[in-house]
Amino acid sequence: MRVSLRWLQDYIDLPTEDPAEIGRAFDMLGHAVEETETFRADWTSVVIGKVLTVDGIPNADKVRVTTVDVGEAEPYQIICGAWNFDAGAIVPVALPGAVLPGDFKIGSRTIRGVESHGMICSARELGLGEEADGIMVLADDAPIGEPFETLLELPDVVFDLEVTNNRPDVMGMVGVARELAAWFDVDYRPPVIELATVPGEPDLAITITAPDGCNRFTAREVRGVTIGPSPLWMQDRLRKAGVRSISNIVDVTNYVMMETGHPLHSFDADRIEGGVLDVRWSTPGETLETLDGSTIELTPEDLVIVDEAGPTSLAAVMGGARSEVSDATTRVLMEAASWNPPTVMYTSRRHDMRSEASARFERGVDPNLAVMADDRACQLLVAIAGGEVLESQIDIVANAFSPISIDLAVRDVERFLGEGFDAQRCAGLLRRLDLEVSATDETLTVIVPTYRRDLTRPVDLIEEIARLADFDTFDSTVPTGPVGGLTPDQVRTRRLQTALRGMGLSQAINLPFVSPEELAAFGGGIGEVVSVRNPLRDDQSKLRQSLLPGLLRNVRDNLNRGARSVGLYEMARVFYARPWADDGRVPDQPNRLAVAIAGPFGPAVLGRAAAAADAEVALGIVSAIADRMGVEIGRTAAQPPGFHPTRTAELDLNGQAVGYAGEVHPDVVADYEIDGRVAVVEMELAPLVAPVAAPLMAPVSNYPHVEFDLSFDVPPALAGGDLVDATVKASILLERADVFDDFVHPESGQRSIAVRYRLRAPDRTLEREDIDGQRDAMVAAAAALGGTLRGES
């Protein structure tokens, strides 16, 4: 809502003209000032003149020569290229020496031997509009010789207000004045309506067959109207309000809308087919031709105004071309109707037609303003376009709105706002808003007029009291909760992230929307997919069931941008169409951790990159995560969809399958147009960050250790990890075991694993017999699984 200060002053005598102070008032009333714009005369030496003579110039058929009285002793001779005026016209004249907007300097010159001193100006040349075809023709009573800007309200300041959705009343100048009057505790005055009418009643039959869409339909007929441009003062105000001037008739409807907040519509009464209008819901297949010449398809949820020939207007949103006022209009039906807000909201969005009118109707225009707005519009129309108003007003009330009464307990005001709000103060603040208040010490009874439909409950009044008390005057106090802090899971989630970061991985955040193809790549799909009913794009209609598609896209994009290596992780929810354990009404949406790494992984030395990430890196990361989180994660070879079939492990934690680690399947890697391997981990987050028992200290021995290596031949069916685990479990003195070689003999195909074991006793230096005993037990344990000792050192 653009509010011109000069216009506003028609309705209120403000105690200040300081834009900063008024701006603060708007801000603190809750109507945030988005922008403050200053209007000034952007020219010098432009005066009001009267054209005395207009004559042709020999051999010049595009321009004429005029003499113009500018209030000086002698008239000025000025050549003019515009043809929209004759002798006697009052016009703005830029005198020689004038400077127009755009630093356009006006002087004297000679064209085809004819002298020209100054220029007669168009609206565009003065920066007042787009009209450039003709010069501005001013009102006949404009004072000749006076500066042109005296006809305009300049200088002026326009506040562009952000009016919240619950305040239709602030969408008009009168309502704005009422707010400022409450803030500054001064009076305001609505426009005085003096409507002269002639006897008669409109030759129209109007009905409302959709009372669920239309609250009230009020209209007057005005006869003998002369269409033309609206007067300069009205154009000036509309321009500042951000409304384009169309014609006097249309300008009046917009002017009164800006003034009262009640939108109006003007029909050419002669173009209403059959002299009947009805408000009804549209029927399938109906269309409406709009003013800009396009045809829109209507739906049964659209409310239309129809005459005998069908829809002539999309109620509240847009007039149709068929009954719109035109240059030939003389008989106007000036309508002020109010509509059901949700209907307007849906229709304006459905057809993408947002307007000043729809912005008001969506908020809820007060039907009880209709008569006043309609009368005001007719009053102004007759004043600027002539004609006469018929005495009889059409006024159909489908839904009556009455003031309501709210009882407010003073105690509740203090519960919300703190001390210092007794009945007297509260009543005083509310009365400033023109509310009728009767008060006892405990209770206020407040009568709320229908233009404040946002006030329905006591708490709504508490807000009004707080607002007028000025939010800036409230104290600052800080309450604290009884106990705060992170839960163990939250602490461990942070610890996990710190660990991942230490591994060189960066956190990614992706959108959860995927295509069916992306979903299928990692086995998502079948039956348990959650779909978005209204997706942003059709190929983003599914909710992810794996974090890997997003990370693979990130890997690809980073490599394409020139990254040599990419290591990312993400923690986020995935979605399954099955009941969630915590609330069966919503779909399952567990949190996951996923990692994706491509390219060299680990420290690099002067140009020599680390080895490229592969499945073994992924498995190493799982082990590191398990260590950091104090859990054991088991691994078995697996072939889940999307993963490399021979380089992937299923992970389990406390016997529960929790995810996979390995490499992405080469086919999928190719689909993502990535060169090389991509190491990935994806696992459930909850079991990983669930609290674990505090570990008890294991003894730290001060005795020396012994190391020896064993290498085993591993039969094809035996998992290397199982063999190593068996040897580890066989020794009670084992401190650690590290696989340092794992190879397949190129000729025999025999696989061998070499392990370095470290033994240490808690209570003594190891003797030869100790070591031999442990070693034999380990070898025996390996042999029991089929692993034979190949060598030792």
């Binding site: 508490i462 707080a466 909760g481 956190q507 915590d582």
Partner: protein
């Protein structure tokens, strides 16, 4: 100087005589000193030591011959040989110490590196800036006695709208604003939560007052991606419900937050606004941390001196009724802020798209 050296001058004459008497062929340690001083490397000194003290040296030879000497001379000869050996060894050791110092100095001089060049790169990852801000804000509020609460993102419309006093025809419910899901029973309309407030409703349903929580997380809106919109973004909402929560508590709490998050001298301004779930409602501006109020060139606030940061208000009694709290027994406040907005303002980020591009060049800038 070692002790042996000090003895040298007095050994001299007597020793010579005795040697001659014993007929021992031993070097005079003093005569070797010049040669020792001329040795300039540990390797050469080792050669010298081998020559004069090793197996083939005259000292070793005389020691081997000791057994052949007459019984009465053996003891004296042994003493003498040892004396000479120790004297030579002492001079060698002394030289070695000097050489070690020299050689270590030379070696250090030779192995110097240019400390201004990175020859090794130790990779370290980064927390996403969004995560950093969430953690930081959570920490501020846990310090004030709040818990951090979480909840489902695929959510019932009831928790997202109805429980929060949103009218049935509120524009936020339109498909043009909110993303709906095909799931569940028709009467349980399902959506991707449009804010994290449903967490508050759920938390109150399950926990009696007092409640002090913040709920960070994803929120979803049907917005096309551009420089200032994402269909999925992060919010942090806070809720305090207790017996005597007042408007001043809301103001003071946000002030405390802003001072910890932005700058210690931050000023907070509350302006009335409208939200369905709070009343009174307010928008919150914080004073610009980058300029002295109203520098028109300020790239953070654009000259207004204020930064619009969040929305807040006193919890609407209708919300308490929806979750089963007694609105006559408790009051509360709630606030919500966009994590991206906090990050963009504080770090001067020009487009919200950076947050989902996952470009390492962006991510790694913010090491927190």
């Amino acid at each position: 100087m070692t002790e042996e050296n000090n003895q040298d001058p007095e050994v001299d004459l007597d020793a010579k005589l005795e040697e001659m008497m014993l007929n021992l062929r031993l070097p005079d340690p003093a005569d070797l000193q010049d040669e020792i001083d001329g040795i300039t490397s540990s390797e050469a000194l080792a050669e010298f030591e081998k020559k004069h003290l090793g197996k083939g040296s005259s000292i070793a030879g005389e020691m081997r011959n000791l057994g052949r000497l007459p019984q009465d001379q053996r003891r004296e000869a042994g003493r003498r040989i040892n004396e000479v050996r120790q004297a030579v060894q002492g001079r060698v050791n002394e030289r070695q110490e000097a050489l070690t110092v020299q050689e270590r100095a030379a070696s250090m001089a030779a192995e110097g590196i240019d400390v201004t060049v990175d020859h090794r790169q130790i990779p370290i990852g980064s927390l996403h800036l969004i995560q950093q801000v969430i953690d930081e804000v959570s920490d501020i509020f846990t310090g004030l006695g709040y818990h951090v609460a979480d909840g489902p993102e695929a959510e019932l419309a009831w928790y997202n709208f109805d429980a929060l006093n949103t009218p049935p025809d509120h524009p936020g419910r339109l498909e043009s604003d909110t993303m709906y899901l095909d799931y569940g029973k028709p009467e349980d309309e399902m959506l991707l939560r449009a804010h994290t407030s449903p967490v508050q409703a759920r938390y109150m349903e399950q926990n009696p007052p007092p409640v002090y929580i913040v709920s960070p997380g994803r929120a979803y809106r049907n917005d096309t991606i551009d420089a200032s919109h994402l269909p999925v973004f992060f919010q942090i909402e806070g809720l305090a419900v207790d017996e005597n929560i007042k408007f001043s508590d809301l103001k003071g709490t946000l002030e405390e937050f802003a001072r910890q998050f932005f700058a210690p001298d931050t000023v907070v301004r509350l302006r009335p606004h409208y939200f369905p779930f709070t009343e009174p409602s307010a928008e919150v501006d914080v004073s610009c941390f980058n300029c002295d109020r109203g520098e028109s060139s300020c790239r953070v606030c654009g000259g207004s001196g204020w930064l619009e940061m969040l929305g807040c208000g006193m919890v609407d009694p209708a919300v308490f009724e929806a979750v089963g709290y007694d609105p006559d027994a408790v009051t509360g406040f709630a606030f919500g802020m966009g994590v991206e907005r906090l990050a963009m303002v504080r770090h001067g980020i020009d487009s919200i798209r950076h947050f989902i591009d996952n470009d390492l060049r962006f991510l790694e800038q913010f090491q927190g």
